[in-house]
Symmetry: D2
Subunit: 138 residues, 4 copies
Amino acid sequence: MTAADMSAFLDQEFEQVKGDFTIEHVAANQVTVRLNIQEKHLRPGGTVSGPSMFALADVSAYLVTLAMIGPEALAVTTNCSIDFMRKPAAGVDLIAHVRLLKLGRQLSVSDVLIYSEGMPAPVARASLTYAIPPAKNA
Amino acid sequence: MTAADMSAFLDQEFEQVKGDFTIEHVAANQVTVRLNIQEKHLRPGGTVSGPSMFALADVSAYLVTLAMIGPEALAVTTNCSIDFMRKPAAGVDLIAHVRLLKLGRQLSVSDVLIYSEGMPAPVARASLTYAIPPAKNA
Amino acid sequence: MTAADMSAFLDQEFEQVKGDFTIEHVAANQVTVRLNIQEKHLRPGGTVSGPSMFALADVSAYLVTLAMIGPEALAVTTNCSIDFMRKPAAGVDLIAHVRLLKLGRQLSVSDVLIYSEGMPAPVARASLTYAIPPAKNA
Amino acid sequence: MTAADMSAFLDQEFEQVKGDFTIEHVAANQVTVRLNIQEKHLRPGGTVSGPSMFALADVSAYLVTLAMIGPEALAVTTNCSIDFMRKPAAGVDLIAHVRLLKLGRQLSVSDVLIYSEGMPAPVARASLTYAIPPAKNA
């Protein structure tokens, strides 16, 4: 899947988050995703909320899995471990770099580094496991 | 802090989530929190989204920490590990039961079980670490 | 499987850890396992090492899965998240209480609380996912 | 600290694991560590056990923290999340590449990729948090 294919798929399947994410770059086993920061993503002081960072990590891991197996709305997150390491910069988009570390028959495993745009040190890291529906393995 | 104290604190400090959560019960090292499901929390099919479950786990762990140390807007999540185990029932509130397992000088550790209201098996489990600001330890 | 069945299975399949663990109690979706502390499990000062606590959590989650699906040497750990919360007491056995939270076709999810024998507060908590081989699902 | 300094420190402070690990390479915020596979690290079939992989991840995260703060036997692991992705090759050493993602006053966060020597795909990934004793922050 290309970045355009993935964007179209995301808009169609997940209306609730339409406009939240931009797929910046797709390569083998890697995707870069932007969280377009809006008021709803913020906490007092303008920092990005934990759930917004989780949502970015989650969608990024989903997309890097889809990039390899094709559009599959039914892949589901089974586990996420996330470390919040630094306070995001106020009013700045977040950029997630995700790598697919394993694509098995039943599970994918990805890791994600999240940056405030323009800052050198990551604000969060996450690893996620997705369960892949059996039909896709046939 | 009582449930009413915590509700007032949450509404004041985190306007973005006002009305999302109801604190149902507070006891020593335990809090029960309801996620009042709204359209914004859902995915296609009416199931509750992963980020909404993360948000519930996160606020629950925050509240059980506050219940013991007093109002402290500056406690921050440093780690969350969450397992998504079953699909939440469509259009039903989620209930989180959180236990404080450790309250140290620098860190608190909690675990959370999340249920679809009225169903016996948990839909998710999470463990969270909060960093407690040094000022509160003095 | 009973505690005796599980002990026999463990001794036969995992010779390297023979004598390390005692299965204390088995109930529906719950098992209690003792780590019989020996010199090899310790760190300077007599405290139990992190890898020894991990090993206890891992074997406990394995056993609570086996208790429900029957002897299955091929179930494998796919994820573990562990929080080390307190220093174990010196020279004292560890006791793990494990609960099976989910037993699906492909995955089991368990959580574990580990105690130094005789102390009220847990020294560690862990959650583990095991992948169950397809053959067992037929 | 250099690789030689770290090796000497490890041998002195942790006699129980003497000879298990070789520090292969040290750079800014990065360390490479080898697990010298011995009989005690194996499971039936010659694969490396989960606790041995955990031990390698744990010591690697410890060493990359020490490399930056200096010898400090009292830094302790507070959290580890580990994904086991592939079966290690039989009878082959494991190599861990660890990166320090954050070094704060109270906590360090590292991530680790573990490889069977000579194989291109990682067998495990882990992220670890270490608590740094207050004295070192003064």
